[in-house]
């Protein structure tokens, strides 16, 4: 990656300049993976795209993100791998395996730092992690939840976990922590469904009244298994405010397949593409590009994946782009909303009567 990238602020570049930079960077990534990853070469060759120089972002081919669950895709040798990231899957499910070399891992950290600093400032803050230490202690499997916590931990000092091993709220620990850092800005981090199901709900059920009005909460990961319980982002924020005084709450959209170049929410509730990444929304009917405002399948682009061919991915999420360079928060680049996971289809046919056995 061009060192130039790190000179800019994450939301500094407008459409034409960002477009030009990204296309150049992605073309060079594309060539790199074509020569270093046989599987990637075969995929592009099977679409007659193995010797194309792409002229627009929309022309870049995309891999379905599930492919990283079913096949091993890497553009480095075994010796160069320093870390293997896995997605959080429920038991029995296949997990994505993402192979990182030193350069990619370092880039991810640098870029994440640029993005988060633009929200919390460049100084590290006392940090309250809304999860249990058990998630990071067991490093046999480098899960997305553990990786997220470790990734964000570098923005905090005096880190404290809000829950014990059984996911009970550690009231005493939190009180002491808040007392020790009274008057200071505090960073809270957690996964959306943990923040909701364990943190917010315990606060609402009990008489505990923490004052978090000076704190910043960053949360991500979506609703996962709790989709039936999912509440709107507005309700989520409102209830957190009532229960704890929290005002600055930022969701982020990201995935283990493109760690680092995450999409952060702004003060107006929109997710923003930083200069290192972009988003395209496609129609299911023919993968053509959807209009702004039109819900479709989300494609994510990132210039960070050097060690695996994951720079252009078709996700299994749906969303819509609100606009580009025009958000009232002042950040340039595309801004968007995620509306949920794609629904699974009910297919006709005669091959299935399987209903389990009691």
């Amino acid at each position: 990656m061009h060192e130039d990238w790190l000179k800019y602020q994450p939301y500094e570049l407008g459409f034409s300049k960002k477009q030009k930079f990204l296309i150049e960077e992605l073309n060079s990534l594309n060539k790199r993976h074509l020569s270093k990853c046989e599987s990637f070469f075969r995929i592009l060759r099977s679409q007659n795209l193995d010797s194309v120089n792409f002229k627009t972002l929309e022309e870049f081919p995309f891999l379905p993100v599930r492919l990283f669950k079913n096949r091993e895709l890497k553009s480095v040798t075994e010796e160069e791998i320093v870390k293997t990231m896995t997605s959080s899957g429920t038991s029995g499910q296949k997990v994505s395996k993402i192979y990182l070399d030193k350069t990619t891992a370092l880039l991810q950290t640098k870029v994440l730092t640029k993005i988060i600093s633009s929200y919390i400032g460049s100084k590290r803050l006392p940090m309250l992690i809304l999860d249990s230490e058990a998630v990071v202690k067991n490093r046999n499997l480098f899960s997305a939840r553990g990786a997220g916590i470790l990734g964000f931990s570098m923005f905090g000092t005096k880190r404290v976990f809000a829950f014990d091993e059984e996911m009970n709220l550690n009231e005493k620990v939190i009180y002491d922590f808040l007392l020790a850092h009274k008057g200071q800005k505090i960073l809270l981090f957690g996964f959306t469904f943990i923040v909701y199901a364990y943190f917010l709900k315990s606060l609402e059920k009990s008489n505990i009244r923490f004052d978090l009005s000076d704190s910043i909460l960053i949360h991500g990961g979506g609703w996962k298994k709790l989709t039936s319980e999912a509440i709107s982002s507005e309700e989520f924020k409102q209830r957190l405010y009532i229960a704890s005084g929290l005002k600055r709450i930022y969701d982020y959209y990201g995935m283990v397949e493109q760690t680092g170049s995450i999409f952060m929410e702004c003060e107006f509730g929109f997710l923003h593409a930083p200069i290192y990444a972009d988003i395209i929304v496609r129609k299911a009917v023919d993968f053509s590009v959807a209009e702004f405002g039109e819900v479709g399948i989300v494609q994510v682009l990132s210039i960070l994946p050097l060690s695996y061919p994951g720079f252009s991915l078709l996700t299994e999420d749906e969303g819509f782009i609100v606009g580009e360079d025009t958000c009232a928060c002042g950040r340039l680049g595309k801004y968007f909303k995620i509306t949920g996971r794609i629904k699974s289809a009910e297919i006709r046919g005669c091959s299935d009567t399987f209903e389990g056995r009691v």
Binding site: S39, R42, I43, R45, S46, Q47, N48, L63, P64, R66, L67, N70, R71, A284, V285, D286, F287, I297, L314, E316, E318, I342, K343, S344, A345, E346, I347, R348, G349, C350, S351, D352, T353, F354, E355, G356, R357, V358
Partner: protein, 411 residues
């Protein structure tokens, strides 16, 4: 007298009795059987057919209309004529327990008709999902029964619904003379955990695959390409290419020089029909198809794949292997391959997993000869494009009516 056959109290509330004229399972077990193609059964079905056609909602459900058409007397007598056994000496065996697939609304009804034509008493497990088609069928059947005609036929129909396979399956299996199991391999092995009587047996319809053979010059000279495309659509897209009869592999045969021209000609016609039928693929299926194409590419199976629109993926294979159909996609995903010599087919279809070959522009006897000359273990049906899902009493290699009945030998 105490009931001999009874379902334990604790399971009774898990069983929904949708239709029966019996007050006990003993009475079901003791119900007499009919000879095959019994007159009453044929007249009953013919009248059922008329009543279904008169239902106000019938236009909404082409699959129910097709079933009604199937049950006409003239159609049933045609099957009787083509039956292999001696109808006069064939008679039912007892209780047939049918397990219908969960995602084809009307399949249960065809299975029931086969059981009735075989002369048996039928306990049919319906899909747990309450399809509108099934509601319509039950409406008609209930009204018909109130006419107090065909009582000996009605007493051979027991329709049930229950959720999970287990005790209730054990119960019906314990006294049936044969089981008809539709659905996938997993279902069959699951049902087979429930023991049946020594003389009872299963007639199973398992996961099977089909292919299509197109002759290049015939396609290029086709005078009614629109009809051919519609026929192909009905074989495949009508059931989201997920029926065992829907081809996943297209074999092009003939003049290699005209191959590309024929492909373009044919697939453009398919695209047109997809447009006119507004066949839409849901996002999750689109991604399934895309993942499948990428995996095929990674595994070195593809020359090229193309998806101008996501309702039609065409994958050009590097080589054809017998396993090609076993792992497959659906909702419009076709693997294609060219043969200059159809004898090469024998390496592909020599597997009991292959069910139907649909053909266009060649003599089916030639395809039959390939199977007989090489002694192949696959393919039970050779039908023109458009007829892949036409149901008949001869299906999946069985004469179903004969398979469910017994033949009396008199010397």
């Amino acid at each position: 007298m105490d009931a001999v056959i009874h379902l334990k109290e604790e399971y009774k509330n898990q069983l929904e009795l949708l239709f029966t004229t019996h007050s006990s399972w003993d009475s079901v077990y003791n119900e007499p059987v009919f000879s095959v193609y019994n007159h009453d059964v044929i007249f009953f079905l013919n009248e059922l057919s008329k009543k279904i056609n008169k239902h106000t909602d019938i236009r909404r459900f082409p699959d129910v209309a097709t079933f009604a058409f199937f049950c006409r007397k003239s159609n049933l007598l045609k099957f009787q004529g083509s039956s292999l056994g001696n109808n006069q000496l064939q008679i039912g065996r007892g209780v047939t327990f049918h397990i219908a697939p969960s995602n084809v609304p009307m399949n249960f009804a065809y299975s029931l008709v086969m059981g009735l034509l075989a002369g048996n008493v039928n306990i049919v497990k319906l899909p747990s999902k309450n399809f509108d088609q099934i509601k319509l069928f039950l409406d008609v059947l209930d009204a018909f029964r109130r006419e107090m005609k065909f009582e000996s036929v009605f007493s051979k129909i027991i329709l049930v619904r229950y959720n999970r396979i287990g005790f209730i399956t054990d119960f019906f299996s314990s006294f049936c003379s044969n089981r008809v199991i539709w659905g996938g391999d997993d279902t069959i092995s699951n049902i087979r955990k429930s023991p049946i009587m020594p003389r009872a047996y299963d007639v199973t319809f398992c996961d099977r695959y089909s292919i299509c053979v197109l002759e290049i010059n015939a396609i290029l000279n086709c005078s009614n390409l629109e009809q051919l495309a519609l026929d192909f659509y009905n074989d495949t897209y009508l059931f989201d290419q997920n029926a065992c009869t829907s081809p996943h592999v297209i074999i092009w045969y003939g003049d290699a020089d005209k191959l590309i021209e024929a492909k373009t000609f044919f697939w453009n016609a398919i695209r047109k029909i997809l447009e006119s039928k507004s066949y839409i693929v849901e996002s999750s299926t689109v991604i399934d198809k895309l993942v499948f194409a990428h995996e095929q590419a990674i595994d070195g199976k593809l020359n090229l794949f193309e998806n101008k629109k996501n309702n039609l993926f065409i994958a050009d294979l590097i080589q054809l292997e017998s396993s090609i159909s076993i792992s497959h996609s659906n909702c419009g995903y076709f693997n294609e391959f060219y043969y200059d010599n159809l004898l090469l087919l024998s390496a592909i279809i020599d597997s009991p997993k292959y069910q139907t070959i649909t053909y266009y522009g060649l003599n089916p006897i030639y395809l039959k000869n390939i199977i007989f000359d090489s002694g192949l273990k696959g393919v039970d049906r050779i039908v023109p494009v458009g007829k892949a899902s036409d149901f008949s009493t001869i299906w999946d290699g069985y004469d179903i009516v004969s398979s469910l009945s017994r033949i009396i030998n008199i010397i």
